[in-house]
Symmetry: C2
Subunit: 184 residues, 2 copies
């Protein structure tokens, strides 16, 4: 018996919606073994792109700002929602420009992942932007001012190893990017 | 002016709830600059623990299973919700035992992060379990059978570098753990 067949969605009921921010689905599922799951929640959030920006001098450009999720001031990376018709990489370029005023000489994908294994959540697209330099003033249009700062590679590695990131996606892109560097 | 004061929550209305799986809050916020945000969503999901299990021979123990979030069969790590009164590390030990039948010789924290920067989501607690050996048969009680397999450190590094993880938390713990190894 193949233990890995997909589950079957028998019914999917939208129980909450606030366009374009969140949709909550309450689904009735049938497993491959015939078992019925009467109520299983999925939460659909907008996909977004996130950037690990490396400056021309090799330091990493970061953002310090208040985030409502943890309710505290955190150190993180530029990023934001993907506009309609925009590719994830185009969104990454735009967010880097808007939030930091920087442009990159080259880009590479660091993969994409869903923030929820069971509920789905959002898909986070991660990019490394190399050779970043300032071309304009930031004008993010976001709700709050953001403070730009830069860390050396060693400072960032220490920050990660001391488990100081409070947002999972920031830890993910930092670890993925540092590993990429070490593999070269 | 301090640009990094917290936002003020003026009202918080619960617009959807399915205990214990999900709570959706629609909040009215006031920013430090006085601006009012009339509707800002927060989504509270149960916190969970996740384990990066290293076997006695140095290979990494992983799980292949169908996940409803992406709607596909994925490679990942053991983990699950934290029971009432349980510490994150105790939940990690229990999930490792239940899902894989393994126990570890020693444990270390790889940090914790929220799956949402704006909405909060769940807090994911990451642990590295060293010297894992099989002590029983798995009996996870989860909805589906799970296939256990192991990867060498190089195989896992290649899997990560090829951007093959589809769940962000799995990529995060893999990158964080591989980096920890390289730092030793």
């Amino acid at each position: 018996m193949d233990r890995h067949r997909p589950w079957k969605t028998l019914t999917s009921r939208e129980v909450y919606k606030a366009d374009p921010w969140v949709r909550v689905l309450d689904e009735r599922l049938e497993l491959p073994n015939g078992k019925i799951v009467p109520s299983y929640h999925r939460i659909l959030l907008p996909d977004y792109s996130m950037v690990f920006p490396v400056l021309e001098d090799g330091r990493v450009l970061m953002i310090r700002s208040y985030r409502q999720g943890p309710g505290e001031i955190v150190l993180g990376f530029p990023g934001g929602g993907i506009d309609a018709g925009e590719t994830p990489e185009a969104a990454a370029r735009r967010e880097l420009r808007e939030e930091t005023g920087h442009a990159a000489a080259s880009w590479m994908s660091l993969g994409a992942g869903l923030t929820g294994a069971n509920v789905r959540g959002a898909k986070c697209h991660m990019f490394m932007a190399l050779g970043c330099r300032k071309i304009a003033e930031p004008h993010s249009g976001d709700l709050e001012e953001q403070e730009l700062l830069s860390l050396s590679r060693d400072e960032l590695a220490a920050y990660l190893q001391e488990n100081r990131f409070v947002i999972l996606a920031y830890a993910a892109i930092a670890a993925r990017a540092l590993l990429e560097w070490k593999n070269r």
